[in-house]
Symmetry: C2
Subunit: 148 residues, 2 copies
DNA sequence: ATAGTTGTAATATATCATATTACAACTAAG
DNA sequence: CTTAGTTGTAATATGATATATTACAACTAT
């Protein structure tokens, strides 16, 4: 069980938009080529990022742009934007039909749910610690280091 | 995208084994009734817990028992035992074919992977903070509180 | 006008979790 | 030692969901 790749695709998109902004026409086909997925997937993820106010894009006009500075975007923002995880359901899937006629069945969630929420929050807090500015900067440095 | 219910099923199993150990014959059918899933799923999860040294069970002999004290079992132990998440793959699914001919495509994982690992570790560390002794105790208290 | 792109729906495919069926291996009780 | 009942596990089916693909109207820029 894994968190879907739309999250890392979203990070890749933002990084590529910034990196290539002065060099190429960064449209969905170009991005799809860099990421290695279908252009429609790219457009779908971009739509999510647009709805979250992270990037700008519109019909007919080729290419996407960032809607706010890179240091104002965290990994958590991207994670939430692409809704890799359903907000209401939470990260952990609790078995859905514990028996209400069983004392354990109807009470265990009271003990377990707060712990699952804490674990999910720990993950999200960690994602909030990194901005896309850091990701882009480190990617640029990695590219520089290739030259040696 | 969610972490599968085998994890919470595992916690439910351990809690029920302890709670009912002096009252009922806690076999896979009984547990399946309490949890609300198929008995074979219960037996599969118990197999995982047995391989992790958390419970004891064997062919023919009805019922499972705990293999070690409840305060020596953490939520993380259960989480790992049922392999809700593949060890090698990690919690986050990185898109699999970033373009090696693109500088961003072949370098972004260097910047992103450590952050994803940190987030996963934060989640797991939080799961290590809770023992099954706490879960069982709180479940017992919740059952007690029902009487008022 | 025209060529090219986006947004989005519809559909297909792939993957994986859970459900179900089936049964040999085994235990315990009589 | 026979029998009823359970476990471990394989095989298969079902269901849910993520990603891929096709298609095209809406739109932009030239």
């Amino acid at each position: 069980m894994q968190i879907g790749s739309r999250f890392t695709i979203g990070v890749h998109i933002i990084t590529a938009i910034d990196y290539f902004k002065d060099m190429d026409r960064v449209n969905s086909e170009f991005l799809a080529g860099s990421i290695g997925v279908n252009p429609v997937i790219v457009r779908t993820v971009i739509s999510s990022l647009r709805e979250a106010g992270i990037v700008q894009s519109r019909r007919g006009s080729s290419g996407a742009e960032l809607a706010r500075p890179l240091d104002g975007i965290t990994l958590y923002d991207v994670y939430k934007a692409v809704h890799s995880v359903d907000e209401a359901e939470g990260l952990f899937h609790f078995h859905e039909q514990p028996n209400p006629d069983c004392p354990v069945g109807r009470n265990i969630h009271k003990a377990l749910n707060p712990r699952l929420a804490n674990a999910q929050e720990a993950l999200e807090d960690e994602l909030r610690c990194t901005t896309l500015a850091e990701i882009v900067e480190e990617t640029r440095q990695a590219i520089q280091n290739e030259l040696h």
